[in-house]
């Protein structure tokens, strides 16, 4: 039974979860929870918060497996996208809370420094870092601030002093460039 689970595709595991098979959920967890947790911790910089995000993501897989849409990507990218969204919610509510308590004068660090530390502290693999660093700065900044920094495009525009529309199109161009860089570095999913 376990051997069979191990051989099933990710999509077949989702189908198993739809059939209320906890074994399929467990196998999905074994395959992907580490990455889900790592991404959440990278964003929140908080192990407990990351564990909560991880549990929430897999609990929602159990309650709503039908939300998986193979046309929008793989199971892995679906899980990571959910983790990212929830971690961003956490980061923004933390920021809002700190702003409410107004003790933190350092809410808007210099953008360039912020980009460097985001990537360095995030503990990304060496080849991934090279791919990110190969982006031109005007694309790297908005992508990193949004994806690793959890900031909205408006916040990014404010931080960089660029028009909002410019930030949006640079995020798109940056993602396309990043894809090519990852290919070049041989980083597989």
């Amino acid at each position: 039974m376990t051997e069979q689970l191990g051989q099933r595709s990710d999509a077949a595991l989702v189908a198993g979860v739809v059939q209320r098979d906890t074994g399929a959920l467990g196998e999905m967890y074994r395959r992907h929870a580490g990455a889900v947790f790592a991404l959440a911790r990278r964003l929140t910089n908080d192990g407990q918060a990351a564990e909560d995000v991880c549990q929430t993501v897999f609990t929602s897989v159990w309650t709503s497996p039908e939300r998986f849409d193979p046309e929008r990507g793989t199971v892995r990218s679906w899980l990571l996208a959910q983790a990212h969204g929830r971690a961003v919610d956490h980061v923004r509510s933390e920021l809002a809370r700190r702003r409410r308590h107004a003790r933190d004068a350092q809410l808007a660090p210099l953008a360039a420094a912020d980009v460097e530390t985001s990537v360095q502290q995030a503990g990304v693999a060496e080849d991934v870092r090279r791919a990110i660093e190969s982006l031109p700065m005007h694309e790297r900044e908005p992508v990193v601030l949004a994806y690793f920094g959890g900031r909205s495009y408006r916040a990014v525009a404010e931080l960089l002093g660029e028009p909002e529309g410019t930030v949006k199109s640079r995020i798109r161009a940056g993602l396309a460039q990043l894809r090519r860089s990852l290919d070049r570095e041989g980083v597989s999913p």
């Binding site: 947790f37 609990t59 046309e71 996208a81 990852l182």
Partner: protein, 242 residues
């Protein structure tokens, strides 16, 4: 400046993929995605690119056991069919509604008080509490206050637009070992489990709440939960005050 090709919001789609859109724009993109296969493919490509930024790691220790323990009662178990002595579904529902009805009137008033009190909460509790407080702070939050048949408010459930519910175990008695609280939706013909919510010691639990849920109840059950609530183990109930 924002690029769209024909009808396709290509820039917004990329910003959506990194979770950086404003909520109203996100809704617009999601509506477009629902009817546009080429944008779904484009999104898949963005999400794949982003997924490659994260390596595979070993899962957190003990996480799977905790996950499985937190799931609601296994739904693949057949719903209990009527045993001769058991009350009919209609009778059971009537019984549930009676208990719920008592609490519902108190709920509307209590919800307002509950919101006011919660803003005085502890600042450095865990992140689940933060998310729950955040949900409670929304001006249009849907909150159900659950009261005992005697009228004591013992718990609140706040439901977000995304269908996440947070149960605040404000004044739930701590259960004996081997028991758990279970949350139920009472709007359909039979109670539906919304999940296990601890033994009264954890201040906040997260549950998934289906859209349209208004009436809820909490019961004390054996650890692991049950498929259908034990009628005399209902602790409190209430309805969403809007």
């Amino acid at each position: 400046m924002t690029t769209t090709q024909g009808e396709h919001p290509l820039d917004d789609l990329a910003v959506y993929a990194v979770d950086a859109l404003e909520p109203n724009e996100r809704a617009t993109v999601e509506a477009h995605l629902a009817g546009c296969a080429s944008c779904r493919a484009e999104l898949a490509e963005h999400l794949d690119t982003l997924a490659r930024l994260t390596e595979a790691f070993a899962p957190p220790a003990g996480g799977l056991e905790q996950l499985l323990a937190g799931l609601d009662a296994p739904r693949h178990m057949a719903r209990p069919t009527a045993i001769t002595a058991a009350p009919s579904a209609r009778e059971q529902r009537r019984r549930w509604m009676r208990v719920a009805g008592v609490a519902a009137a108190a709920a509307a008033v209590a919800a307002v008080v509950g919101v006011a009190l919660s803003s005085l909460g502890d600042e450095d509790t865990d992140t689940l509490s933060d998310l729950a407080d955040e949900a409670l702070d929304q001006p249009d939050a849907d909150v159900a206050t659950l009261a005992t048949p005697e009228g004591a408010n013992v718990a609140r459930v706040v439901v977000t637009d995304e269908g996440t519910g947070y149960l605040f175990a404000d004044d739930l008695p701590t259960l004996a070992e081997g028991q758990t609280y279970q949350l139920w939706q009472l709007d359909g013909p039979a109670p539906v489990s919304l999940g296990l919510v601890g033994d009264g010691t954890q201040p906040v639990s997260a549950v998934a709440v289906p859209a349209g849920t208004t009436t809820m109840a909490i019961s004390a059950e054996v650890a692991g939960g049950v498929v259908s609530p034990t009628a005399d183990q209902i602790v409190a109930s209430g309805a969403v005050a809007r």
